[in-house]
Structure formats: C-alpha cells, structure tokens
C-alpha cells in the first residue's frame, strides 16, 4: 500500500514545490511593477508637509526625503524595501502617525476579509442551487426570470445598489443604519447587544457584496451544469434507471462544481477592489478605506503594503482553489506528476 503511493506522493510534492516557486515569482513580479509605477508617478509623500505647506521650504523637503530615503536611486530603495519585506517588515507608514504598515493593515484586515468571506458563502449558498435549477429546467419560465435577474445583476453598479439600499432600508424604512461600523452607544451594550449592533451595521454592505457576486456565480454554475448534463456518463446514469434527483445530486453536481471552485479563486482581486467602493460608501474602517487614504496621501509604504497584501490574498485564493479542486476531483490527483 505504502509502496504504491510513494511515486504519487512524490508527484504531489513536486507539484507543490513548483507551485510555490511560481507564486514567489509572481509576487516578485507584482512588487517590481507596482514599486516602479508608484515611485515614478508624479507627486511624493512629502508633498503634504512641504509643497502644500507655505511655511515649509526646500530645506525641510530635503530633510524629509532623507528621512524616508527617497533621495536614493530607485533600485536601491526597491532592494532595501524587498529585503525588509522578506523579514515581514513592511516599513512604517509615511503618514503623520508613522506607525508600522503591518500593524495598521492587521487592524483593518479582519473586517474586510470577514465581510468578504461571509458574502462569498452566502453567494455560494444561493448561486449553486439557483444555477442547478435553471440548468435543469432550461428555458422554463423560472429559468427565464433567473436569466433576466442575472443580467440585471451583471449590469448593476455596486455603488448604485448601495445607494438604493441606503435609500430604502436606511432612509425610507429607517430599519438599518446607513453608515459606520457601530452605533454611538456601542461601548455601553452587553455582548449580545454588541453583536446585534454589528450585524445591523454590516447587513447592507454584505448584501451589496453578495449581490455583486451572485449574478456571475449562478450564471457560471448554470453553464457548468448544462455542460455536465450533456456528458455520456449522465446518459449512462439515466439509462440504468436512476431517478432524476440521484443523477443530478450524485453524478452531475460534483463535476459541475469543479469550475466554480476555480472561479472562486479568481474572484479575489475583484472583491478586494470592490471593498474600496463599498467601504467608502458605508464609511467602514476596512482595508479599502485604508488604501484610499494612503493613495490620497501618497503614502508609498502603505500603498505597497496593500498591493502586496492584495496580491498575497489573490494568490492564496488561487492556491486554495487549486487544493479544493484536487480534493474534489480524483482525476487531478493522479495527473499531478505530469504538470
């Protein structure tokens, strides 16, 4: 038993090694491109304190540039930054508070990632059944209604949806708060009260995130299901007299879910980008807001930190999708060694 599995295990190890190397390479590529773009673009983090400040002269600007090391050649700056990055040191923020970038990011990370994970789960919970139903009842009235909704969902700008929801639930009905993470009296609430308060504040943002992903996901699920239902083994399953339900749940669903897993991994950059808009509308203190502020203040270290983090999250998403794919599809496991 052990012997027969050894070559397979070796193949898996090799695959993981290759994958890891590739991920590091991609990360390196992303840091090089972003570093160059950001540092070569006009404007500098010292603008706020010098050019825009009539009391500061050229001398103070020079002092600041020396302080931040901006007067050195770009490749030296990059190398320096990269070496510190390897030690997980993202540097200090170039804004007034000058706190470590990593600390500031870590404060904001739970909110953004939490909202995204919750809405991804909601999206899957809704999109998978919807996709299956519209594929199985193709061209029925229900399928047509779903298709119309999907097209509307695709075209809906997330920020407009957010505005409409605010207008309806926040202002018309007065059911939900329209901005912020907590109410003013948050500190005086008991644990349950705090939880309810958070849920009420996050309901609309999570809803916006979910609707954003729903259209694409259910459409994709439908397409994959249709593709699977055309396969010969489905015909075989039907021919041997299995019920429709068994054919779909046991034979078709698992195969149709595979591409959807990949889509999940690919949707991470979009979610990260979307957080800027959604957090700014609902005034939520998440990563998106942090990044927006950093961009506005030309806070180089902070921007780079966010870009690297975004890339890492994206790559992690892809890797996770890859692993899930391997678990869900036995064919991939045996083919691993070839890649």
């Amino acid at each position: 038993m052990l012997n027969s599995r050894t070559p397979q295990l070796f193949g898996v190890m090799l695959h993981i090694l290759k994958k890891t190397l590739w991920i590091l390479l991609v990360l390196l590529g992303i840091t090089v491109i972003s570093f160059w773009i950001i540092h070569l673009a006009p404007g500098s983090p010292t603008d706020m304190e010098t050019t825009l400040n009539p009391l500061a002269g050229a001398a103070s600007r020079q002092r600041l540039e020396e302080l931040y090391g901006l007067n050195r050649p770009l490749y030296v700056q990059y190398w320096d930054w990269l070496v510190r990055l390897v030690h997980l040191d993202f540097g200090n923020s170039m804004s007034v508070d000058a706190r470590p970038v990593l600390t500031k990011i870590m404060e904001r990370l739970p909110l953004t990632v939490g909202m995204n994970v919750i809405s991804l789960m909601l999206t899957l919970l809704i999109a998978v059944p919807v996709g299956i139903i519209s594929a199985c009842r193709r061209n029925s009235l229900l399928d047509k209604i779903i298709t119309i909704l999907v097209f509307l969902g695709f075209a809906m700008p997330s920020f407009w949806l957010a505005l409409l929801l605010m207008l309806f639930f926040g202002i018309e009905l007065q059911w939900l708060p329209i901005s912020g993470l907590t109410s003013i009296n948050f500190d005086h609430l008991d644990l349950w009260g705090k939880f309810c308060d958070l849920v009420r504040h996050l309901a609309l943002p999570v809803l916006v995130y979910t609707v954003g992903g729903l259209a694409g996901m259910s459409r994709y699920m439908r397409a994959c299901m249709l593709e699977t239902l055309r396969q010969d083994y489905i015909l075989t399953a039907r021919a041997k007299g299995l019920s429709n339900r068994a054919v779909i749940m046991r034979h078709a669903l698992r195969n149709a879910l595979l591409p959807v897993i990949t889509l999940l991994g690919l949707s991470v950059p979009g979610l990260i980008g979307g957080s800027v808009i959604i957090e700014s509308i609902f005034a939520l203190p998440g990563l998106g807001q942090l990044f927006y502020g950093a961009v506005m203040a030309r806070d180089y270290t902070m921007i780079m930190g966010n870009l690297v983090l975004g890339a890492v999250l994206t790559l992690l998403g892809n890797l996770l999708a890859d692993v899930c794919y391997g678990i869900a599809d036995p064919r991939i496991r045996t083919k691993r060694g070839e890649r």
């Binding site: 992303i30 006009p42 695709f154 809906m156 407009w160 207008l167 950059p269 979009g270 979307g274 870009l307």
Partner: protein, 279 residues
C-alpha cells in the same frame, strides 16, 4: 436583402433586439446630446436648486440648480467615449500579444502567458486607483489606465484561437507558398479571430463603463464640473435623504447602458458560437 436578413435575426432573438436597441438609443442620445438637451449641462439655475422632477426640469435639478436630464445626456458621451477608447486600447494590446504568443509559441509564448498570469493576480482596481490618483484624474488618464489593465482576457482568447488556426491547412498552404509570418498573422489569422474579439470587446465596453463610473464616484474619475454618471452619483450621495432623484437616474443610466452592451455581447456570442446551437 440584407435588411430583411437582419430583420429576421432581430425578430428571432429578443436578447439581440433589446441589446442593440439599447446600445443604439444610448449612442444616439450621446451623439445628439447638444441637440436634445433642453439646457446647457453646466448652466446654473440658482433659483431652482434641488427641485424634484417637473415639466421644466424633467429629471429635477442638482445642488447648483443644473438640469439633471441635460447632464445625464452629456455624461453619456463621457461613458461611451471611455468605453470605446479603453476597449480599443485593451483590444489592440490583447490581440497583438495573443497573435504573437499563439503563433510563435516556445519561449515568447511562455513569457507572455506568465506576464498575463501576473497581471491577473494584480488587485487591478487598487492599481488603477493609485495610478489615477498620482497622475491626476483626467479623462485621458482614465481611458489609458483602464485599457492597460484589461487586455489579459483578449490575449488569452486570441492566443487560443491562433493556436488552433495555425495548424489548419490554409495556413500551412500559405506558409508553403512562401508567405511571411507577418503576412500570415495579419491577413490570414487575424481576420479569423475577429468574431470572438468583437464579442469580448462588446462586453469589455460594459466593464470599462462600470470602472469609469466607480472611479468618478470615488472622486478619482472625471472631474467636476464635467458631468459623468459616476460623479453625478457622488454629488447625489451627499443629499440622498432630501433629493433622492439625484441618486436614482444616473445609476439607472449606467445600469441600462451596461445591460445593453452585455445583452449585445451575449447574443453575439450565441450567434457566433456554433456549439450553443447544437445543444
């Protein structure tokens, strides 16, 4: 004969009719904006500030008393312009790289495809945001940056088409008769990839319009006083509880336009993709 063929096609396919109808109507409205608009888009009516829709101001007025309907029409010009130019850029880059990658294979292909992988892992909206903020938000910058960050899909598509086309007999025949690589690519392969590229481009316009309006909504897109649907919504947000119509119509305009291009793109896909007819 041709009009009838088109008429039949339109009659058969509701999606195509609706899509092309919306696209046509929106394009006409944008092109003829100066003729249709009842007021100049930047004209201030200071005695009619924040008025709800009426017979004089069809869709109401904003905080400076500007006519929302006129501004919507002119905002449409911006959206379409951004959509077309940005997609023009991304399609040009994508097609060129895809053709080269698919035709020459080997290390060129490897390099280009790995670059595509890297670009796909970029949190691109972050990057767009940073670059635009640094370069000063302007229409030109927005179009270029959106174009430069959205060519990867086209590259993959064109590469896949080229890979299969280059093995076909007519390409072998062209090569045997001494046609240069450049000539084969431009004259024989490129025209055969046009249909899928056209579909992606149509869907890409929708995407570019959405990105531009998101940027403008964040204040990093088209700058006031120039009207764009995104910055009209940004303006509207501040007075959403007292003047909800300001938050309503620009969003509706985005929704309908993007819907139009998506419908058109999808129905073109149905039309060109023979696999869907077999089903």
């Amino acid at each position: 004969m041709l009009p009838r063929a088109i008429r039949n096609m339109l009659g058969r396919n509701l999606m195509l009719t609706l899509g092309s109808g919306i696209v046509l109507a929106m394009s006409l409205a944008a092109l003829l904006a100066p003729l249709i608009a009842p007021f100049h888009p930047d004209a201030l009516h200071l005695d009619h500030i924040l008025e709800p829709p009426s017979s004089r101001f069809w869709l109401g007025t904003d905080r400076l008393g500007r006519d929302v309907f006129s501004r919507l029409l002119f905002g449409g010009r911006i959206s379409l312009w951004v959509g077309f130019v940005a997609v023009g850029i991304s399609v040009s880059i994508g097609t060129t790289l895809g053709l080269i990658s698919g035709y020459f294979r080997s290390w060129v292909d490897e390099c280009i495809m790995r670059f595509v992988d890297i670009m796909l892992c970029f949190p691109s909206f972050f990057l767009i945001l940073a670059v635009i903020a640094f370069l000063e938000p302007s229409l030109t910058n927005i179009m270029i940056v959106i174009g430069l960050t959205s060519w990867m899909g086209v590259t993959r598509l064109v590469r896949a088409e080229t890979l299969s086309l280059r093995e076909r007999d007519f390409i072998a025949a062209a090569r045997l008769s001494g046609t240069s690589s450049y000539h084969i690519l431009v004259r024989h392969i490129l025209p055969n990839t046009l249909a899928p590229v056209l579909i992606t481009a149509t869907l890409g316009i929708a995407g570019a319009i959405l990105t531009e309006s998101s940027l403008s909504f964040l204040g990093l897109g088209v700058q006031p006083p120039t009207a764009s649907w995104g910055n009209m919504l940004m303006d509207g947000k501040a007075v959403i509880s007292t003047a909800p119509w300001l938050s309503l119509y620009p969003g509706l305009a985005i929704l309908v336009t993007v819907l139009g291009y998506n419908l058109l793109g999808e129905s073109l896909r149905d039309f060109f993709d023979p696999r869907l007819h077999v089903r």
